[in-house]
Symmetry: D3
Subunit: 137 residues, 6 copies
C-alpha cells in the first residue's frame, strides 16, 4: 500500500549505508524495533542518512527542551499537517516518554483551540498588532 | 485590511457582551492591551464569548501542562496552519512566559523536522506499524 | 486504530460528565447513535463538554443560516483540511438534512474551483485589490 | 510584489484571447472592474481562459445552490487553504450578493468549529463509523 | 467507503456525457482502465467533463514541460495537500512515464526539504527580500 | 516584522559557525547575496548549519533531476504549503536557472489542476484503485 518498497532487515544487510543507519537506530533507541518510515526511506540511502542524522540532532540530543515536550510539539505539527502515520508514531513515542492521559488530552485541546483561532484570524484577515513586533527584529 | 471591522474600546462600550468580555480579558491578563483578534471577533459577540471562554479553559486554567509548553504547542500548530497573525501573537506570548531564544530555536527545529518527516510519510504512503496500535484502542 | 480509547456506553456510565453529555447528544439529535468522535473525546470530559457545547451553539441553535447550508460549509472546510472522518460524518449529516445529489455535486465543484484559484493566487502572490478593502475596516 | 506581471488593459488589448476574456468578465459581471487574479492569469492566456470558463460554469451558471451560498462555501475553502487574496475577494463578492454581518459571523463560526473538530478527529485518528458508510457507495 | 457512488461501465452506458468522457479517457490513454476518481465524478457529469477537459489540456497536451516533469510536480502538490489517492495515482503515472527509483527518491527529498524550509520561513515570518521583487511585476 | 532577529554580516562575523556557513553560501552560489531566511536561521547556528547542508545535498549536488526541474517542484510544494516567502525565493531561483514564462505558466497550471483533483478525491473519499498498488510494495 506504500508507493515505495519497505526494506526488510535482509534487504538492509545488502547496503552498507542502510545497514549502518539501521544499526544506529537500534543502538540509539536501545530497541530492535525499526518502524516503517525508515524502511521506506532505505530506498534512498542518502535521504535516510540525512533524515536520521537530523532527527537525532533535533529529537535525541540534549537541548533546551525536555524529550517529552519535544514529542508533544511533534504530535501537534503532525496533526496540523494531517499525517496519520506521524500522529500514530509520535503519540506512541510520547507515551513511551511518560505522557499521561491528562497531558495527551491537554495537547489535543490546545491543537484544536489553535486550529479554531488560526482559522478565525485568517478568515478575518487580522493585521498583526504593532505590540507584537519587537524592536530590532 | 481586515474583512471585518476592528472594534475600538468605544465601540465595545456600546455592547454589553463585548464590554464584559473585554473587561475579563484585561482582568485575566492583568494588562490593558487587547489584541486585534478579539476586536475582530466583537462583530459576533456570541462567537467572541465562546472563543474567549474556550481559550481561558485551555490556555489559562491549571492543567497537566505548564503555561510555556502550551504556548510552544500553539506556535507549532499556528505555523503548520500557516497563520501569520497567530505565529506572531503566540511567539510574543511565549516570550512573555519566559521562552528563551534557545527554546525558540528548538521549537522551530522540531516544527521543521516534523514537516520534513510528515511529507515523507505522506509521499511514501507509509502504513502504521502494528506496534503503534495499542490493545483496546 | 485510534490514538485514544473509544468509550462504550458502559464506560460512559461511569463518568458523570460523559454520561450527561452523551444523554444530551442523544436528546438533541433524537437518535440513540453516538458517533466515534464523541467516544474519543470522552477521554477528556472537559474537552468533550466544551466541544459539544460549541457545536450545539454553532450548528444546532437558530442562526442566520439554515441547517443545510451550515453542513455544506462544514463539508467544504473538512475537505480543505483533509479530514476524512469529518468529510464522511458531515456528508452523512447533510444528506440527513435534505442535501440532494445535485447540491452535493455543486458543493464538490465549488470546493475544487476554490482550491484551483486559491493555489493560483498563492503561486502568483497576487496583492489584494484596493477595491476589496472597505472603508472603516 | 507578485511573481508574475499584472496585465493592464493596454497589455490585454494586445492579445486576442486576453482581450476577449476581459471583455467577457466585464459583460458577465456588469462592471468595468477586473480584479488582480485575472490580470496575473493573463500571462498564460490558455490558463486564463480555462479558469474563467470553469468559474462561470461553477459560480455564475444556474445550479442547485443559490449564488450567496456558493460564495459562503468559497470563503470557507479559501480560509482553510490560507489564501488571503481569496478570502478578501470572496468576502467582497458575498457582501455584494447580500451577505449580512450576521451571516458572515455564522460562516466564521462554522469555519472555526470545523477546524476545531477536524484537528480533534485527526489527532485521535478516529475511524469512520460504519453508519456513515452507505450501501452501494 | 466513498461519499458518492462509483459508476460502473454499465452505469456509464446510461448517460450520454459520462459514456462519451469514459470513451475519451480510454482513447486518450490507450488503455481500458478507468480509475476510481472518474467513476466518482460521473455523479456530476458536467464536473466530470470539465475536470477531464482541463486535465487533458494541462497534462496531456504539448507544453513547455515534458510529461514526466509534469507528473513529478503533480506528486509534489498532492503530497503537500495530503491527498493519499492522488499520491498513489500520480506516482503510478510517473512510473508509467519512465520515472526511475532514483528520480522518485529525489522528488521525495525535495518535497521534504521544501516542507522543512516552508515551515521555517513561516515560523520566523521572514519578509521577502527586495532582490526577489522584480521591476514591473 | 519577523519573530526573530535577522543577522547582518556584522552579527555573523561574531559567530564562527554562522560566518562559516555564510561564506559557504556565498562560495556555493557565486554571489554576495544572502537572503533573509539564512539571516533568520543564524539565531540557531546548529539549525542553520543542518538546513544549509541538507539544501546543498538536495538542491545543489548532482542528482537524477536537473536543477531547474528541482526548482519547479520546490515552487509547487511551497505554493501548496502556502509559504509566500518560499514562493518568491524559489520563483526567483527558477528564473535564474532559466525558467521561461511559458514553463512558469505551465507549473502554475499543474499546481492548480492538482489542487483541483486533490480536493475532489478528498471530498469523495475515493479509495485507491488496486491497479495502483504494486506487488512487493
Amino acid at each position: 500500500m506504500t508507493t515505495v518498497r519497505l526494506w526488510t532487515d535482509q534487504d538492509a544487510a545488502g547496503d552498507p549505508v542502510v545497514s549502518r543507519i539501521f544499526a544506529d537506530i537500534r543502538a540509539t533507541r536501545k530497541s530492535d524495533f525499526i518502524n516503517n518510515i525508515w524502511r521506506g526511506l532505505a530506498n534512498n540511502p542518502a535521504l535516510l542518512e540525512r533524515t536520521w542524522a537530523n532527527l537525532k540532532a533535533v529529537m535525541v540530543a540534549e537541548s533546551a527542551l525536555d524529550p517529552l515536550t519535544k514529542e508533544l510539539i511533534y504530535i501537534a505539527v503532525s496533526t496540523a499537517n494531517g499525517c496519520g502515520y506521524c500522529v500514530h508514531s509520535h503519540t506512541a513515542a510520547a507515551r513511551a516518554k511518560g505522557m499521561t492521559d491528562a497531558q495527551h488530552g491537554d495537547v489535543l485541546a490546545i491543537i484544536a483551540m489553535a486550529a479554531h483561532t488560526n482559522s478565525l484570524a485568517t478568515s478575518m484577515q487580522i493585521p498583526v498588532d504593532p505590540e507584537f513586533l519587537q524592536p530590532g527584529r
